[in-house]
């Protein structure tokens, strides 16, 4: 990509951010860069690496579960697998992926800015992310082996086990700090750096999502920070905070843990929903239905999402009144999400729908997220949850929302934006083939979990009764189909970066948001002149672009 001499485009324009040579040369120009686009690429590389590691652990878990009894590993090792799978997927993939990659790369562009509010803090976020990730991986190889507590680190086991819990906790703490700084940066950026003509209700909907997410990152993450810190202190100094042997209350730990970890799932899904709102109008060639409703629903989800945490704790001995209140609030939080689904569907109605890869993943999102969301509402009913808590049903539920939701939105984002970011096009037919493998594999993998969970199969168990065997067998085969799909997808994408068709067109898909008005790939400062915008960017009239440029 970069070479020793400054490479410029032959048409005499400015070099792209990929070719630009500043103070530092070569690799230093990347890992010391404060350019939001380069930082987005740094995150892309790191996040995908950790994602693949997480997939490997998932693959191994399913391999163990393909038959009852010990199949490939001992119970203890299986516990470490699902702990690592959870820690990696949640803290190193799902939470950061869309905000840190696409948010970093595109948020400034979407609002007509040259960078985020605090570029150096942005780079620090990435270094904290890398530190946390390395600590998490280190926990695997250091004596004691990785933690076997589950990613939830419940007391008292997390203060009793002599596995490397402290590594995992410190990793999560540092990753939380990285998340906080990203959120802080985004809130300030949206408030302070919008183009002068871009009022709040002219912002793209993905910006609304990033903004709501950023608030949750700033407010909720410190709670997990202090909670995990307290567990570390308790392990090391035997202080007596949550440990029942020292007078503590393990349920209080769970409360504090979920006060963050429930809002965390909204950190995960909101950016994905933002992408859905971005992509549907483009590929349906229709104005988004209910712009303001979707914008406000993002805020509502962030707000209500902080009120429902104890629905993870219906079976631990809370008061009846407490349980009732949390169950009721859980019903309420489903409403703004449903509003989004209705509005997206209404946008499709009478649209001229183009089934390109980004759109396939987005349509799948709506379907899979609906299944996940509905199973979530089921779980919010206390009498049902008593039966299915800690079963595979829960595992199915959260994979449908987190993977079928955010994961698929992330894949959509890759197919939508990678050509813009790198100026290289992937093979669209191959992308569609990959999609079907991924979609089919996903459902074959996770739907049986809903069924067997309902029938009583516990989660986090490496062994099970014979009646569950057929479901596990099907599920594991589903994991192979899914992984095959992922291999096809990523091979296609990576190949395009190396030798794909070069793209120089500014507007690849006919979108109206600002990233489609600038160079492909973007120049360092994104815009030659600060853009002037008309209405919100989803006004599709004969696909005419409504953006004008004016001297600042």
């Amino acid at each position: 990509m970069t070479s020793d001499s400054v490479a410029v485009e032959t048409n005499g324009h400015e070099p792209s951010y990929l070719e630009y040579q500043g103070k530092h040369k070569g690799i230093l120009g990347w890992i010391l860069s404060t350019d939001h686009k380069r930082i987005g690429i740094l995150y892309l590389t790191a996040v995908l690496t950790f994602f693949f590691a997480g997939v490997v652990f998932g693959f191994l878990m399913r391999l163990e579960l393909i038959s009852p009894g010990e199949t490939i590993v001992t119970a203890q090792t299986y516990n470490k697998f699902f702990t690592l799978h959870g820690v990696i997927m949640i803290f190193l993939f799902i939470i950061p992926a869309i905000p840190a990659i696409f948010g970093n790369f595109f948020l400034p562009i979407l609002i007509g800015a040259k960078d985020v509010a605090f570029p150096r803090l942005n780079l620090l976020s990435w270094y904290l992310y890398m530190t946390g990730g390395i600590l998490a991986l280190l926990s695997i190889v250091m004596p004691g082996g990785p933690a076997d507590t589950g990613w939830t680190f419940y007391i008292p086991y997390s203060v009793r086990t002599d596995t490397n819990v402290i590594y995992a906790l410190m990793a999560a703490f540092i990753l939380g700090f990285s998340s906080i700084l990203t959120g802080l940066n985004f809130v300030t950026t949206v408030h302070r750096l919008r183009a002068p003509s871009m009022s709040w209700f002219k912002m793209p909907l993905s910006v609304w999502s990033f903004y709501a997410t950023a608030w949750v990152q700033v407010l909720a993450t410190p709670i997990i920070g202090i909670t995990l810190l307290l567990v570390v202190i308790e392990r090391v100094l035997h202080v007596g905070i949550f440990d029942p042997a020292l007078g503590g209350d393990p349920v209080l730990y769970q409360h504090l843990f979920w006060i963050y970890s429930h809002p965390a799932v909204y950190i995960m899904i909101l950016p994905g929903m933002g992408l859905v709102s971005e992509i549907i109008p483009v590929f349906a060639h229709r104005t988004i239905f209910g712009y303001k409703f979707i914008a406000f629903s993002s805020i509502a989800i962030a707000l209500f999402g902080s009120l429902v945490w104890a629905h993870h704790m219906f079976t631990v001995g809370m008061s009846d009144t407490g349980e009732f209140i949390f169950s009721l609030l859980t019903m309420v939080v489903a409403i703004p999400s449903a509003i989004k689904v209705f509005n997206w569907t209404a946008t499709l109605y009478k649209g001229s729908i183009e089934l390109a890869a980004p759109m396939l993943y987005i349509l799948a999102f709506i379907f899979l997220f609906s299944i996940g969301g509905l199973t979530g509402v089921m779980q919010g009913v206390i009498s049902i949850d008593i039966q299915i808590h800690d079963t595979s049903f829960i595992v199915g539920h959260f994979h449908y929302v987190m993977f079928g939701g955010t994961g698929f939105a992330f894949f959509a984002g890759l197919h939508y934006w990678l050509p813009k970011m790198f100026g290289k096009m992937y093979n669209m037919k191959t992308a569609n083939v990959a999609f079907w493998f991924v979609f089919v594999g996903f459902n074959v993998l996770y739907f049986p979990m809903l069924i067997m969970g309902w029938m009583g199969m516990p989660r986090r168990y490496y062994d099970y009764l014979p009646q569950f065997h057929p479901y596990h067998l099907i599920s594991t085969i589903g994991s192979w189909i899914l992984i095959l799909g992922l291999i096809i997808m990523f091979t296609n994408l990576f190949k395009s970066l190396r030798s794909g068709k070069k793209v120089t067109a500014k507007n690849l898909w006919g979108g109206e948001t600002l990233e489609w008005q600038i160079e492909t790939p973007p120049t360092l400062e994104n815009f030659e002149k600060i853009p002037v915008v008309g209405g919100h960017p989803y006004q599709y009239k004969d696909n005419e672009v409504t953006i004008e440029e004016e001297k600042v």
Binding site: L219, W309, F326
Partner: protein, 97 residues
């Protein structure tokens, strides 16, 4: 770009800060005095109300919240709201056990 550089106090004075400081000292004296009284269930509430009054003074005057744009105040309210709701809902469990 001049508006970015605007400092809020165009003619700052030392006096207001000293006044607030005296108020804070007075409130500290009050809270210590009240602690000596036996008011049973209201002990915590009273202490927290006085502490909140002190915090309010520090926020509005020392931290200039009063002279900043309304956005800052809204931010503070949002953050405090998150903390408050966590307290309230947490006690929704423990108060009824």
């Amino acid at each position: 770009m001049k508006e970015n550089n605007v400092q809020h106090e165009h003619s700052p004075s030392y006096g207001i800060y000293i006044l607030v400081w005296l108020g804070l000292l007075a409130l500290t004296g009050l809270t210590v005095a009240v602690a000596g009284l036996d008011i049973g269930r209201f002990t915590v509430a009273t202490a927290m109300i006085i502490a909140s009054a002190k915090a309010f003074l520090v926020l509005t005057i020392f931290m200039h919240l009063k002279s900043e744009s309304k956005t800052f105040t809204v931010f503070v309210i949002v953050a405090l709201f998150f903390l408050a709701i966590s307290f309230i809902l947490l006690f929704a469990d423990y108060s009824f056990k």
